[in-house]
């Protein structure tokens, strides 16, 4: 992460400092240093702000922990909402599902109609006209 240009990495930035830092990285890779050592070299000079991602320790760890926790909570919420919605269903009669259709049907027609809705493909097969 480039120290002077907002929001650009040294890889992206066209700034002089960024290209200077690229050269440092290049030289240090040449001299056989590991990635970790090079990163530490920059962190010592500029602080953790130069890293593109927070370190997995101290406050930085919080950044990493929250998303998986959010994922777990999301799964639990979906499961709970679905089961609550399902429980409610058993209290309500099936017929209520169609009460909003303001049409009076004989029981035979009603059965036919429900059967139609149940069958996903009815509109394509078009058996009933």
């Amino acid at each position: 992460m480039c120290p002077v240009c907002p929001g650009e990495s040294i890889d992206q930035s066209q700034n002089d400092i960024a290209s200077y830092m690229r050269e440092i990285v290049f030289d240090q890779v040449e001299s056989g240093k590991t990635d970790e050592e090079i990163k530490n070299y920059f962190v010592e000079r500029y602080g953790p702000v130069v890293l593109m991602q927070p370190p997995n320790k101290g406050v930085g760890r919080i950044a990493w922990i929250i998303p998986p926790i959010g994922f777990l909570i999301a799964i639990i919420v979906v499961y709970m909402v679905l089961s609550i919605m399902r429980r409610k269903r058993s209290q309500i009669q099936d017929e209520r599902l169609y009460y909003d259709l303001d049409v009076s049907l004989t029981s035979d027609e009603r059965k036919k109609y429900i059967a139609l809705i149940e069958n996903e493909e009815f509109s394509r097969k078009g058996k009933i006209r």
């Binding site: 990495s9 409610k88 394509r124």
Partner: protein, 672 residues
Amino acid sequence: MVEIGHIAIIASFLVTMYSTFVGFAGGMLNGRDLASSARWGFYSVVPLLLVATMCLIYAFVTNDFSVKYVAENSNLAMPKAYAWVAFYSGNAGSLLYIALAFSVMGSLAIKVINVKLPYTAPYALGVMSLVLIFFLGVIVFLANPLDRLPVAPEDGQGINPLLIHFGMFIHPPFQMLGLISVAIPFSVAIGTLLSGRGGRDEWVDQGRLWGMISWLLLTAGLLLGSWWAYTILGWGGYWAWDPVENSALMPWLAMTAFVHSIMVQKRRGMFRMWNMLLIITSFAMAQLGMFINRGGPVPSVHSFAESTMGWIFLAIMAITLFCSLATFIFRYDTLKSRGTLESFISREAAFLAQNVLFLLIAFVTLWGTVFPIFSEAVDETTMTIGQPFFNKVNGPLMLLLIFMMGVGPLLPWRKATWRSAIRMLKGPLLLGISFIVISIIAGIREPWAVFAFGTCALALGGILQEWIRGTRSRYSRGESVPRAFIRLISANRPRYGGYVVHISIVMLGIGIVASSFYDVQRDVVMAPGDVETLGKYTFKYVGVDKEFFPDRVKEVAQFEVWSGDTYVGNMFPNRSFYPEFRIAATRGAIRSTPWEDFYLVPSEFREDGQAVFRVLINPMVWWMWASGPILVLGTILSLSPNRRIVRKLSLTDLSSGRGNISGVYTPLGAGD
């Protein structure tokens, strides 16, 4: 000229105030005259703001540097066509642009809503006017682009050179319009709550229509923005998880969830409260986006319109959120669900899971964006959350989303048995798995990439299966194949339009996955005459031309490029240096094919004739840009009204047993 603009802005501010009060009064007293007066008030803001805009652009074209905003954002050397870009390149001007764009789109929306939802329309109008008042108020009292300077300078400071690009004509207008247009479905929703008609589901069609338009604008803004970054910022990428990019992505995610879950309400009368909360969240996120863009607290490459007034946007966001949630709680009892969930294996359940997933991604993105502030407050260490973090965290979630996109539409409404679900999913799953096997055989070893390609294949397979099944059943009734296919799509446009959009998302996904896992990059130092190779490409650096302009020095490098043994032509990457700004703008040269992009960017031209270039091969980026038009097409298709079928419907036909089948389907919700 400038004074006329001043008067127009103040007049529009007063008229909007009038519209707000009279609009709400019209809704509460059920006064038709009041409501229509408020409506005409809102319409009249459009010409007023047009006049103000014309005045500002006139000042740019005539180089009237006595206007502060013109002096700050242009100079004599600026090409005149960029007067339009300069108009919204700064803070004050972009506010005027937003107000103008919102008044135009809001007027259209009010015209339509007034016909479709006569009882809700006055309230919706009131909410829209409130939003407009905010922007006009900020312009009038804090940041008027038409303010004069006490002494007019000789020349202006000039426009930021990075903004001199064709993309500037389209990306910011779409992005800003997209963000503010979220206010329209939001107003419809809040209007429905205020008028107490939330239980009738009548707002669903209008909410969906304006929600999708706004979603389309946001998508266009995002895609154009990435395209612009890819061609101009010159690092070979298109998305950097920059705070401002994130803040545009978050409302897009929330809106995507909204346009999906509104279908459940349309079809099954469920998720009434959820939809309200989603649209409230979307609007809050859109406001947050504007806040982060304007003097936001986090550093970003987008800090063009920066100003000290970001905090006003944050305050307004808090107030909006508070008021809309209060309205929601106040009208809570009107929003009980009609339908109920019958099974975990149903499309409703899939929609809910998908919705939560979208919100989770939005939340994680928000978390990553604001974390630097958090860490500074807690520990006093500043940290950066960059690309690697978001890729690691959001990547798997997005993959899961593509999986849901493949599975969800295949599940039936209400309930499915495990057996029928497996029967529907068998084909796509097999296709996905076989793709995974093929990729491994073809030498793709990266586990995430293999997995992602398999998931994309699954999603695509699901859509194809639906098309083939539908076409086949029509074919068996004696229609020819192309005819059956076209009939199939036009019979249920929301559904098949949605599939077209899904295909474009798969294309986007393939482009993103391929280019993030398989890009090749090399930095080379070359003297004129040198030849280098990367992958199958061989390129020869012929030399550099220096061109001098009043405001910049432009260095154009010439390359001869071969792909394998065939000569494919010259490429001219260039770099301009603007001494006044001390900014260099590079423009890469790209040879794009569906298979891969060959990308050349100059990093540095040295005195001794040598030059440093960055050479990249980005696989399949072409597909990302190609997905854009398809996405637009799909959205338009799914919004186009189904007149033919609606006309055929009549309830008497239904009760007498002669009901047209596709007709029965439509009023229940064409969103199957």
